[in-house]
């Protein structure tokens, strides 16, 4: 028997064993029951069944359920909270405060400036819209620590992002996950880019 076949046998065995173990475990059934009752609010799980909240906490019922709130906001099939947060704020579904005591619009430093990052290998170029970000964030949240203000001065690559650095500090943690490649890689390359054989233009590790 080859390695592959052994591998399959072993893995199937593991799968069976884990199923048997999970069936045999004496778990409280309560979260499962709650999950069933909340079927209509899929994909948001009730707090008591989300795997991190303690279902025995009597105060849990005083907290808002994510499904009750998120189901009223623009739906995002890509994941995250299954909410298009930027749209929710643009279209007036939500009006978050701009300082911790007020809704003062002057406290928001809007900047309508798109940054194109050209060295993205074979992927479409990255368009960074300042506008969508300044709705939520202040200049100082990103500049000058995370990103330098001068275009091209900051070295960014997917390795850093997937490790939770640079864009990955938020995207993959609180903002839409980086598995949505084309939301950032949204600026079409000219066809001539793909015809040229210029390695320096395709290597995203070179200085940008």
């Amino acid at each position: 028997m080859s390695f592959g076949a052994w591998g399959l046998t072993l893995s199937m065995g593991l799968l069976l064993a884990s199923t048997v173990v999970s069936l045999a475990e004496d778990k409280p059934v309560q979260p499962e029951v709650i999950k069933q009752e909340h079927k209509g609010l899929y994909p948001w799980l009730p707090l008591a069944a989300d795997g991190i909240h303690d279902p025995t906490n009597a105060v849990l019922k005083e907290l808002s359920e994510p499904g009750e709130v998120h189901s009223m906001l623009p739906f995002d099939a890509a994941g995250g909270n299954y909410v298009r947060w930027a749209e929710a704020i643009e279209q007036g579904y939500i009006t978050p405060r701009s300082t911790f005591q007020s809704y003062d619009p002057n406290a928001i430093n809007y900047l309508d400036l798109d940054i194109i990052r050209p060295n993205t290998s074979i992927m479409p170029r990255v368009r960074f819209p300042h506008k969508k970000h300044t709705v939520w964030l202040d200049c100082a949240n990103c500049h000058e620590q995370l990103f330098k203000s001068r275009a091209g001065a900051t070295k960014i690559n997917m390795w850093l992002i997937l490790n939770g650095e640079k864009c990955g500090l938020c995207h993959g943690a609180v903002a839409f996950p980086p598995t949505e490649c084309l939301r950032c890689h949204s600026y079409k390359r000219p066809a001539s880019d793909y015809m040229r054989d210029d390695p320096t233009d395709r290597d995203d590790r070179t200085e940008q």
Binding site: S2, F3, G4, A5, G7, L8, L10, S11, L14, L15, S18, W44, L45, L47, A49, D50, G51, I52, H53, D54, N57, A58, V59, L60, E62, L63, P66, V69, H70, G79, G80, N81, V83, W85, I94, P96, R97, S98, T99, F100, Q101, I108, V135, W136, L137, D138, A140, N141, W159, L162, N163, G164, G168, L169, G172, A173, V174, P177, P178, T179
Partner: protein, 129 residues
């Protein structure tokens, strides 16, 4: 056996192993577990729901005005700070939001949770392998 089929079985092994071992957390995206001190002091871990707060406040409110550093584990938050009006206590003071004597609304996590960002759709990329 055909080599291609062997490869397929090898892939099957990895795939089934991943399904068996890497069961993703089910928590709401961007929920933060804060457990540096809570459990050591006999309380449940704190669960901070980003989603609930971002509906009411822009990110910059907490991440500039309140001084929360945007990296899990970077903030040293104590109950003394909160009661004296720093960090969570800037709002959770009975004026903007409810008071910190509602212990179990925040200290609501399962025992034994590790501090950090949770969420079912967190990228399981190279940084998490």
């Amino acid at each position: 056996m055909i080599p291609a089929f062997k490869n397929f079985l090898g892939f099957g092994f990895v795939a089934v192993l991943l399904v068996t071992v890497a069961v993703p957390a089910q928590a709401e995206y961007a929920d933060i577990i804060i457990n540096k001190r809570a459990e050591a002091n006999g309380m449940r871990p704190v669960i901070y729901p980003h989603w609930f707060h971002r509906i009411r406040f822009r990110c910059k409110v907490c991440h500039t005005e309140k001084g929360f550093i945007m990296r899990a584990g970077s903030n040293e938050i104590t109950m003394k700070d909160i009661v004296e009006g720093r960090f969570c206590g800037m709002c959770h003071n009975g004026q903007i939001a409810w008071t910190p004597d509602n212990c179990h609304r925040c200290h609501s996590g399962l025992p034994g949770l590790q501090s950090g960002v949770t969420g079912a759709d967190q990228t399981r990329g190279p940084g998490h392998w």
